[in-house]
Amino acid sequence: MNGVFVIAVPAKGRLQQNAEAFFARAGLELVQPRGARDYRGAIVDLPGVEVAYLSAAEITQLLAQGTVHFGITGEDLVREMIPDADSKVILIDGLGFGHANVVVAVPQAWIDVHSMADLDDVATAFRLKHDRKMRVATKYVNLTRDFFSGHGITDYRIVESAGATEGAPAAGTAELIVDITSSGATLAANGLKVVEDGIILRSQANLVAARTAKWDAAEHAIARIVLDRIAAQTRARAFREVRTRFAGCNDALLAEARERFGVAAPFGGPTSSGMLTLHCPPARVHALATFLREKGAAAVTVSDIDYVFTRDNPLYAKLEAGLGG
């Protein structure tokens, strides 16, 4: 991987599809020149970039070591696998897929347990009664320990679980679990419920940068191009373009639209003929269109935006700040 900018991408399943779709939307087309079985790839018009297809856990490890520059992985793995994660990696942006919560779940039969404070009390009572500590099955050993410690819970033991953690209480190998859940359906099917304040982490797939990777001028240049395209696409997805032209369109109206609908005017205020282009959050588009017509617009057009390239690049700025610190 010498002298090459490496981006690590999940090698399997829906995470890989989502990651590739994410890059494709940003105009970064990933290709595997030697076929889908090859674990090395490239980006079509970006020489000097190597794409490494790996498991999410491997990606997290390589990010911590600084062996790759960028990687896509879940925040849950970053927080679990990398001690003092913020000193090793920079979470550049959440990607809007791979959503899952890491939660504390107890048997539904524990009708006396609603909060972590209840659980703390139950843990101590359990030790006094059974002369052993309550067992928590999980693969998130570090997240569990920090979260329990934060709630003052000491009377518990962690049982490491590689898979099918939600079955541990029924199998008798643990009293409760810490696991990942997206809908809660699997937990419910196993007779478990989430403790109310027991959500340890709301995780999603993230674009992550490795602080300790080689960051010379060449790497900065590539990172800037990649993040420029991603930021342009991210920003484009956050807005719709709204265009109109009418005589009463003036700066006062723009100020009111900013205030009420959170719009931006990327090319400045209305022209002398009342021509105006706005960027509007998707949820406010209809209200804005109504507002503009009430003010006298004969026609308002709304369209999707492919990219918004701006002079400032918040993602690259975040990378720079992280590497500098």
Binding site: W110, I111, D112, D121, F126, T144, T154
Partner: protein, 384 residues
């Protein structure tokens, strides 16, 4: 520890370390050398999961978790329990490496220390342990260390004497060693009324005052009506019991403001041991709480300390001082270098009468001991 044979490595004990452990042997403590590789279970069980991140763990071919010993108290205790002398009065000393992940120093470092088992004369044994701990300061040329002491037994006696629900007593005792939690507990104790949950208040009210059998039957029925089977190691009976306790807490929720003030007044008592004992006697008289047994032990211990030549006026006692480990049950102490308080304690120990039971002893065996952090002493001694 083949003392003189080979070239000394980076962790070889120096002359002062060997002189110190030799003085412990002369005081009647048999030198022991427990195995470096230990089963991980007892450490995790007794010190809590938090220690896992500092331990060097490995797995043997049978899948058992092993570790490099992170301290010597548990290995010495286990060896004693496995010996024919288990249960008899016996004292041991050690000098050897312990292993912990640390960001501020090498993972392998030397400790020496003492464990005293099976002595029934608590006050005298406690005082002897403090005196032996202080010998380290003499050997390393540290003239006037800070002597900080506490007594977990006094707090336990206070809680036992208070008119509080069992659930609160259990919590307060557990959280005594976790100071931020204790403050939270006191907050919650005072405002618990506003935290009552409307959705099951009805059930709790119905349970309040009912007898355990009826409550148990009610909870079992509720669960089966809802089609919920109990899974995991907690029985329906335990769930019913805790429901009852919650009901009792609900009934008591109006009380505790003056209770909180009282606990806080207790925890503010500090000073040299004689001043503190006076303040505690006054406190007990004002509040009508019976702390006599714990206070008698405290005063008797102070007497033995003076008899051992310790300048009692220099000791700083605080009721709020605990050592942050769940297994201490009575006297606790730390020695610090007054000139370098940031370096942390260089001797620390206390009484842990439940440790041997939790390690599997069929009968309770009293125990008291301490460990010496040699590297902190070396850093301090050479600066003198």
């Amino acid at each position: 520890m083949t003392d003189a044979a080979a070239t000394p490595g980076p962790n070889a004990p120096d002359l002062r370390a060997r002189a110190l452990v030799a003085s412990y042997e002369r005081a009647g403590y048999a030198r022991v050398q427990p195995a470096i590789l230990q089963p991980a279970e007892p450490f995790l069980d007794l010190s809590g999961e938090d220690i896992r991140k500092r331990m060097y763990l490995t797995t043997d071919p049978q899948g058992r978790e092993l570790c490099l010993r992170p301290d010597l108290t548990i290995p010495v205790s286990r060896d004693y329990l496995a010996s024919p002398n288990a249960g008899k009065a016996a004292g041991f000393c050690y000098l050897g490496s312990v292993f912990r992940h640390r960001s501020d120093g090498p993972a392998e470092f030397l400790q020496t220390g003492i464990e005293s088992f099976g002595r029934a004369d608590f006050a005298a044994a406690d005082a002897e342990i403090l005196a032996l701990g202080l010998e380290a300061t003499g050997v390393y040329g540290l003239a006037a260390p800070d002597i900080r002491i506490g007594d977990v037994g006094l707090f336990a006696a206070l809680i036992a004497a208070l008119d509080l629900a069992p659930a609160w007593k259990r919590r307060l005792i557990k959280d005594f060693n976790h100071k931020s939690s204790l403050a939270q507990d006191l907050d919650r104790l005072t405002i618990s009324a506003s935290h009552a949950r409307p959705e099951y208040q009805g059930v709790l009210a119905a349970l309040a005052g009912s007898d355990p059998k009826a409550a148990h039957a009610l909870v079992t029925d509720l669960l089966s009506i809802a089609g919920i089977t109990a899974v995991g190691g907690r029985s329906v009976g335990e769930i019913a019991d805790r429901f009852l306790e919650q009901a009792a807490l609900g009934a008591q929720s109006a009380l505790p403001r003056e209770m909180r003030a009282l606990i806080e007044r207790f925890l503010a008592i500090a000073g040299d041991p004689d001043e503190a004992a006076d303040a505690l006697r006054t406190f007990a008289r004002d509040t009508g709480l019976n702390l006599d047994a714990a206070l008698d032990l405290f005063e008797s211990r102070t007497g033995f300390m003076a008899a051992r030549g310790i300048d009692v006026g220099r000791i700083r006692f605080s009721t709020a001082f605990g050592r942050g480990l769940d297994y201490y049950t009575g006297f606790v102490f730390e020695l610090h270098d007054a000139g370098r308080p940031e370096a942390g304690q260089f001797v620390a120990g206390g009484r842990y009468d439940e440790l041997l039971t939790r390690l599997g002893s069929p009968v309770p065996i009293p125990a008291v001991g301490f460990a010496v952090w040699m590297e902190r002493l070396t850093a301090g001694g050479s600066a003198q």
